[in-house]
């Protein structure tokens, strides 16, 4: 096994990981591992932009942004973290501009901003333009910028390395083991600080906007070390997935003025959010859509609805939404300047994740005690910025703000910490054995079938609308799937680029956290944000205004614990749009 | 694979000269063509042509023609060869010297033919 040493090792090269690497790289020796080439990371798919109350196009303030974020998250977000997010969003946006991000511009030459669902001015009362964007390629531009800046800082990249285990001993993270996909060899990395920025987990659903790589790998890695996973039941379904692929049609389409119609030609949002209409938060719109579909008012009674842009005019569409136009032509053969776009809700974003403090340090008990040297940021983490439901454009901003904070915190930590303590083969033996065992599996089950059954059942039972019955069914079914997973064989005997093996590793992780999601969702007997229980349709602040912490115990069982929400500004109120 | 870390001017002036000679080639070639092939007033006679070639104007034009054609042709050849020689510095040096030598030899040959010529 090859051994490497860096002060800081970052796992994941999306916006969060790269921001951290770039910042830490200013003073520390940083290595970044990513299972795909950095510019292939999922962050590049973000289209709509990142929220910051710059006020370039009308009045805005971070207080308004904070209020929207708190309310959008149905009061489950921690308000101290949310305050940091909305305040630091402003300097971070300017920092990205200074680094060269090619923002779209206002006529005066300032950063252009557009409206987005759930964002308002004057504490929910007026409209606002808050999303700072680069046409509809915002994430793409940010991802490339941060990659290039990391290169400039001399960050060392290990591309196509799949991290398979963390080495955590006595509450200290010392390093990790990763599979070099190109050769099939295992490598050990020793570091003072390790950051997980492995992205989201929506690949566990059948209809999803997420890339193939979004298998939530970071979560099972920490769960195995006894770290709980926080608020995993909160998964956002985006209202406009292209039918039938689930590929995302950005919310910018509605931000720019798109309408939603059902099969009867009615703008059905009138019924669900009369004042905010299409620009109500995602959970609200997705539930409205699912209700229309379930009640037979889909287009031709089918499983989709129409997103109509035609009234905006071809010029505006081609100028402001060029990528959406191209995407819809390519994947649905629809010219959206002339015809409506067929859409359906699609699994999109993971609010839950690895619990961290405000400096992105991972919390061993989910509450106070940190795992020394272990950090997490971006979509895989849960500080909790988004509570029960994330607002559009808040997540790339979270990845930037908290990736940045993590980078700074790690650089500071390694300055004060002692030397790197490299381990030897004894420390990595277990990780090695695990992978070798997987490699030589000969069982008769098919990974594809198990993955497909997982995704179908999660969509069916842990989808937009949930009930105790469905969730119980899913918890049980997870046992069956996990048993069958043990019988999956690997037909590819080669070492180099064995993607059958890497897909199997990812699937194992998905089964692990999907069970945690199901158990957490079953326990939460209320409806809040994206977690919508038909059998408990009301939000219950007395019982459930608290974060779920799900521990994977040594015997494989799941133990639930809870922690209070930080509420220091806005008291819970009814959420109406 | 060697990463391009840059090594000073690798061709701007050459490239520019290639463009300039390319453009100049056109009028010079046209003139040459008209003068030698489209003359209808007389038959090709040594005396008449020799008299023309011996004038200072035509000497100048022919030297220009020689310079432009040799540069453009040989640099064009070199440019094609360069595509294949990135990883062969020794061969590159040899071929470069060879092309320069051939070019100079032809140039001198041309000059000694044009300059002293008298009818």
């Amino acid at each position: 096994m090859e051994h490497h040493r860096h002060d800081v090792v970052v796992v994941g090269a999306g916006i969060a990981g790269l921001y951290a690497a770039m910042k830490a790289g200013e003073s520390a020796d940083v290595g970044v591992l990513s299972k795909v080439y950095p510019t292939r990371s999922h962050s590049g798919a973000a289209q709509g932009g990142s929220a910051a109350a710059l006020g370039n196009e009308g009045e805005d303030s971070w207080e308004y942004h904070l209020y929207d974020t708190v309310r959008g998250g149905d009061f489950l977000g921690d308000q101290d973290a949310q305050e940091l997010l909305v305040k630091e969003a402003i300097p971070v946006t300017y920092e990205m501009e200074h680094l060269g991000l090619p923002f779209s511009r206002t006529p005066e030459g300032k950063i252009a901003q557009r409206p987005f669902g759930g964002h308002f001015s004057k504490f929910g009362k007026g409209p606002v333009k808050r999303s700072c964007y680069v046409a509809d390629r915002s994430g793409h531009a940010q991802l490339h910028l941060l990659y290039e800046q990391s290169l400039k800082q001399g960050v060392r990249f290990y591309n196509e390395f799949l991290v398979t285990s963390l080495i955590i001993e006595g509450g200290v993270c010392r390093g990790l083991v990763a599979l070099e996909i190109r050769t099939g060899n295992l490598h050990a990395f020793w570091a003072r600080a390790v950051m997980l920025a492995t992205g989201g987990y929506a690949r566990a659903w059948r209809v999803t906007s997420n890339s193939h790589a979004n298998t939530g790998d970071g979560l099972p890695l920490v769960a195995k070390a006894g770290v709980p996973l926080e608020d995993m039941e909160f998964v956002q379904f985006h209202p406009t997935g292209l039918y039938p692929h689930g590929i995302l049609v950005s919310e910018a389409a509605r931000g720019e003025g798109g309408y939603l119609f059902n099969g009867e030609g009615v703008r059905f949002m009138e019924k669900y959010a009369a004042s905010k209409m299409e620009l109500a938060p995602r959970d609200v719109v997705s539930r409205a859509e699912q209700t229309e579909i379930d009640e037979g008012r889909g287009i031709d009674g089918g499983e989709y609805l129409n997103l109509d842009l035609t009234h905006l005019g071809a010029d505006a569409i081609l100028e402001r939404l060029p990528q959406i136009h191209e995407l819809v032509v390519k994947f649905a053969a629809v010219d959206c300047t002339k015809k409506p776009i067929p859409i359906q809700p699609t699994a999109h974003y993971s609010m839950g994740g690895i619990p961290t403090d405000l400096d992105t340090r991972v919390l061993l008990d989910g509450k106070k005690q940190v795992v020394e040297g272990l950090y997490a940021s971006g979509e895989c983490a849960c500080v909790s910025n988004h509570g029960a439901n994330r607002l559009g454009t808040n997540s790339t901003m979270e990845a930037a703000v908290f990736g940045r904070r993590g980078g700074i915190a790690m650089a500071k930590f390694v300055r004060g910490a002692g030397p790197i303590l490299p381990g030897d083969e004894r420390d990595t033996a277990a990780a090695e054995e695990e992978i070798e065992a997987l490699r030589s599996r000969t069982g008769r089950e098919s990974a594809k079938v198990i993955r497909a059954e997982l995704q179908a059942s999660m969509t069916e039972n842990v989808g937009i609308f949930r009930t105790a019955e469905k969730l119980q069914k899913q918890v049980k079914f997870m046992q069956t799937l996990k048993e069958r997973f043990k019988e999956v064989g690997v037909s590819d005997g080669s070492r180099a680029f064995n993607t059958e093996l890497t897909e199997l590793i990812e699937l194992g992780g998905m089964l692990d956290f999907s069970e945690i999601i199901s158990v957490s969702a079953l326990a939460r007997q209320e409806s809040r944000g994206a977690h919508s229980r038909k059998d408990y349709p009301k939000r219950d602040d007395v019982q459930w205004l608290r974060h779920t912490l799900a521990f994977r115990e040594a015997d494989g069982s799941i133990r639930l614990d809870y922690k209070p929400v930080v509420i220091n500004r806005f008291q819970p109120e009814e959420r109406k749009y | 694979m060697t990463v391009n870390r840059g090594h000073g001017s690798g061709g701007f002036w050459w490239w520019l000269m290639q463009r300039v000679t390319g453009i100049l080639l056109f009028p010079v070639l046209l003139l040459h063509y008209v003068a030698t092939h489209l003359q209808t007033s007389h038959f090709v006679e040594y005396d008449k042509i020799a008299a023309r070639v011996a004038t200072p104007t035509w000497k100048f034009l022919n030297i220009a023609f020689l310079t432009i054609v040799l540069f453009h042709g040989l640099y064009g050849l070199w440019n094609v060869l360069l595509d294949y020689l990135s990883k062969k510095p020794a061969l590159r040096a040899v071929l470069f010297s060879l092309i320069v030598t051939i070019g100079l030899a032809l140039y001198v040959l041309g000059l000694v033919t044009i300059i002293p010529f008298s009818a």
Binding site: V36, Y37, T39, R40, H42, A45, Y94, E97, H98, L99, G100, P102, F103, S104, P107, E108, G109, K110, I111, V134, A135, R137, H140, A141, H144, E148, L151, K152, N159, S211, H212, A213, P244, H245, L327, K330, F331, A333, D492, S494, A496, F497, T499, E500 | M1, V3, N4, R5, G6, H7, G8, G10, G11, F12, W13, L16, N79, D83, S86, K87
Partner: protein
Amino acid sequence: MERQFRIYRYNPEVSPTPSFKTYTVDVQPAWTVLDALNAIKWDQDGSLTFRRSCRHGICGSCGMKINGKNGLACEIQVESLKGVITVEPLHGFRILRDLVTDMDGFFAHIEAVKPWLIAGTPPTDGERLQSPEDRKQLDGLYECILCGACTSACPSYWVNDDFLGPAALLKAARYVMDTRDEGFAERVDVLDSRNGLWRCHTIFNCVEACPKSLNPTEAIVKLRQKLTALKI
């Protein structure tokens, strides 16, 4: 509908010589070539190897040669292709396995053009101003997804992989043409090197190959114009 896919197979651990293998796939409506490759991998032959991630043409993982033309497997509808569909790895890069090529050199060239803004101290509060017209100069330059289709289509690159190639030069143009950037002089060393701008013979293959309809040749011409302005 049943369609046949003739796929380039190469696995040096098994055999030193590449070969083609044909698979029959029951293609569903609206399937892309990537959907078909996934179906082959998952249902017929787990050893088939290719890269993919976003599956909607934004991450640049799935560049390959499909019926002789470079493109993104995830963007090309099977229906749009005729006959037996031949799928090969991108030409011009070292093949690691099946449809997977070695992209390290490609990315090293991107790094070589200093793809970062080189500029003086920014304002302490707020953004630098840039007019919408100035910003427009970057359209057609910043959208590159680094899939490698252009560089892989470049005959100059085929014979000389030290040539920066169209993608890296496009990336250079993305910064050079940025009105906020002052680093052109710093990049001249690389652009005006033997394997820089001058290895482009304006063949336009890159333009034809780009799945994002970008124009690297035009970017190269712009860089040459800039260089001329600087030197003269």
